[in-house]
């Protein structure tokens, strides 16, 4: 059964069409990769899914567990279990990372009707989760994303993903700005969270991330649409031959 179903999504920004009839269906337990050249609309797709202001559909539909997503605000979508790892995580000066994480963690627990954790219990739990991502206590004392290095920001995104335990995670260029070591840590983090009940959509430019997060299905996106889908070999093909061949094939 698909968790996420996008049908013929059309979306424009400042009267310019960005998504031109995009369709995508993601089932439980699957890992999808969406690849494509710059400007193909990959980030727009991620914002549209998360419900950012200004990214409303002109046409088409998105359903999540058979619920129409288009009517929901970003927090409502998050509560349903949709997570977006940002390409450029946003700084929140003055907001302590630990407090922020506790707030989002408990807010999720509350939504799920589960018990919220006390400050002390949460800290214990957080330490354990953070350790797996090589995140030190010191980092958690800093302000959210404030003065974090590129790698720290991305690890912090995956830490939030681990705490929220979403049904579907969209990783928007999570590999950008990471060296190999950091890439391994982040990928391991994602792989550890993966199970038969949830799904991951990886948006990326390069094949190298897919060495670590193995996709079941690879989609090539261009000019606001998915123009080709295949198995993991498709990514290798792109790596070798570039996008141009596939793009030409289509036109």
């Amino acid at each position: 059964m698909p968790i996420l179903e996008i049908k013929n999504a059309e979306l424009s920004i400042d009267n310019k069409k960005i998504l031109k009839g995009l369709s995508l269906s993601v089932n439980e337990g699957e890992t999808h990769a969406i690849m494509g050249p710059n400007g193909s609309g990959k980030s727009t797709l991620s914002y549209m899914l998360a419900g950012r202001d200004g990214y409303e559909l002109d046409n088409g539909s998105i359903t999540f567990d058979n619920i129409d997503l288009t009517l929901l605000s970003p927090d409502e979508r998050s509560n349903l279990g949709l997570f977006l790892a940002f390409q450029y995580p946003v700084e929140l000066p003055g907001v302590s990372s630990t407090n922020f994480l506790r707030e989002i963690f408990n807010s999720r627990k509350k939504y799920l009707g589960e018990n919220e954790l006390s400050h002390l219990d949460f800290i214990k739990y957080l330490r354990k989760v953070a350790e797996n991502l090589s995140i030190k206590d010191e980092m958690l004392k800093r302000y959210v994303n404030f003065g974090f290095s590129g790698g720290e920001k991305k690890r912090f995104e995956i830490l939030q993903m681990a705490l929220l335990n979403p049904k579907i995670s969209v990783l928007d260029e999570t590999d950008s700005g990471l060296d190999v070591d950091a890439l391994k840590i982040v990928s391991e983090g994602v792989n550890n969270l993966k199970d038969k009940k949830n799904a991951v959509v990886v948006i990326t430019h390069y094949q190298r991330l897919l060495d670590y997060i193995k996709p079941d299905i690879v989609h090539i996106m261009s000019d606001g649409k998915i123009i080709k889908s295949g198995d993991a070999d498709l990514a290798l093909y792109v790596e070798k031959n570039g996008y141009s061949e596939i793009l030409n094939e289509k036109s």
Binding site: F86, L92, V95
Partner: protein
Amino acid sequence: MVATTETINQVKTTTDKYKYGFSTEIEVDKAPKGLNEDIIRFISQKKDEPKWMLDWRLEAFKKWKRMEKPNWAKVSFPDIDFQDIYYYAAPKSKKKLNSLDEVDPELLKTYEKLGIPLNEQKMLAGVAVDAVFDSVSVATTFREKLSEVGVIFCPISEAIINHPDLVKKYIGSVVPVTDNYYTALNSAVFTDGSFVYIPKGVKCPMELSTYFRINEKNTGQFERTLIIAEDEGYVSYLEGCTAPQRDENQLHAAVVELVAMNKSQIKYSTVQNWYPGDEKGKGGIYNFVTKRGKCLGENSKISWTQVETGSSITWKYPSCILMGDNSIGEFYSVAITNNAQQADTGTKMIHIGKNTKSTIISKGISAGKSQNTYRGQVQIQKSAYNARNFTQCDSLLIGDTCSAHTVPYINQHVSNAKVEHEATTSKISEEQLFYCMQRGLDAEQATSMIVNGFCKEVMKELPMEFAVEAQKLIGISLEGSVG
């Protein structure tokens, strides 16, 4: 989007929050409306004041009559008719309620949001307190503890009678009677306020809060407070509380004076949450306050920390006169305005002594159609060799119908002094909101979190027990400002 109906409802609850604000029936002992010498005599007599106090009041009144209302602040309001105000209205007794069930549920909701413990809620709402928490006995215990170390903490009306020498020596010594129109008025008609005296070498063993002062309630609209710390004394004083304050008096013109001797330290924290009026500002409190501290002794220190969220108009500049060499003045401020509120607030740091230092951190947050102005003066006088000032004013705008202004005045008369001024204005970014909401926080939680982060430098100066409530208060004050 979905948020729209929610927002409408939230705005409704916010504006309805004060619905019952002025319904509490209070039996009052009123003097006739208007202001003349007889009214002043009446006030003085009611308080059994000595003659010198009455003379001081009458002198102030004479001067006030010749003064003009200040009009330089960036606030606008209809002209006040000073003859149409009651200057003496002592509540005989407040109608006691039997249980919290009788209290306005909207008010209880706010208390709950603020996390105020049940017993304190009862006290605030005027419910007769039970044996478990007897406010009088608590206050008495406090007093005993304080008097053991020689600290005097009492209503100023009592101090005028019991400690006349101290009051006589210091009242008006920091804020002269004719400092401005409202200080002259206050000097003539003030009804009550706090008096604190910290003897030499004493570190006050507890935070002093207006909250626990006997007869604290209903000090009226013209409050007068005087705090003196002798050599090496230390005191932390908390004014106000986070729970909404209601008052049938629209005009409030308080005067607060602080005097710090050698190596002494006074920390004065305020949380102000008076009725801000309806969404058009109608009926809200005018808060025209003069607060000033004098670092008279060497190495003395005065810190002002304020969180201002209430009142329809705020006109307030807690200041420091740094006379003693090496003395330090600090001003940490969060001013939030929403709907039609207007705030013109800031500080004055007057450097007179050598090596004097001052720090100003001001955070202004504007939402709705409000006006929020920071107005600050840093004056380095010729004698202030090697003086230092650092000023940082940050403004945060929520929505596009509010405005923020920064008006710094710097007068520097010494070449080796160092004055730094930084100012920023930012909008609460859609990006930040979206990021927080993507993690499941609703718009209000997200705003509260971002704004609290913005105010962090100031909030951390507040005493612990205040800080937690103040953080929640910031969220509540901005309810309905984002959709």
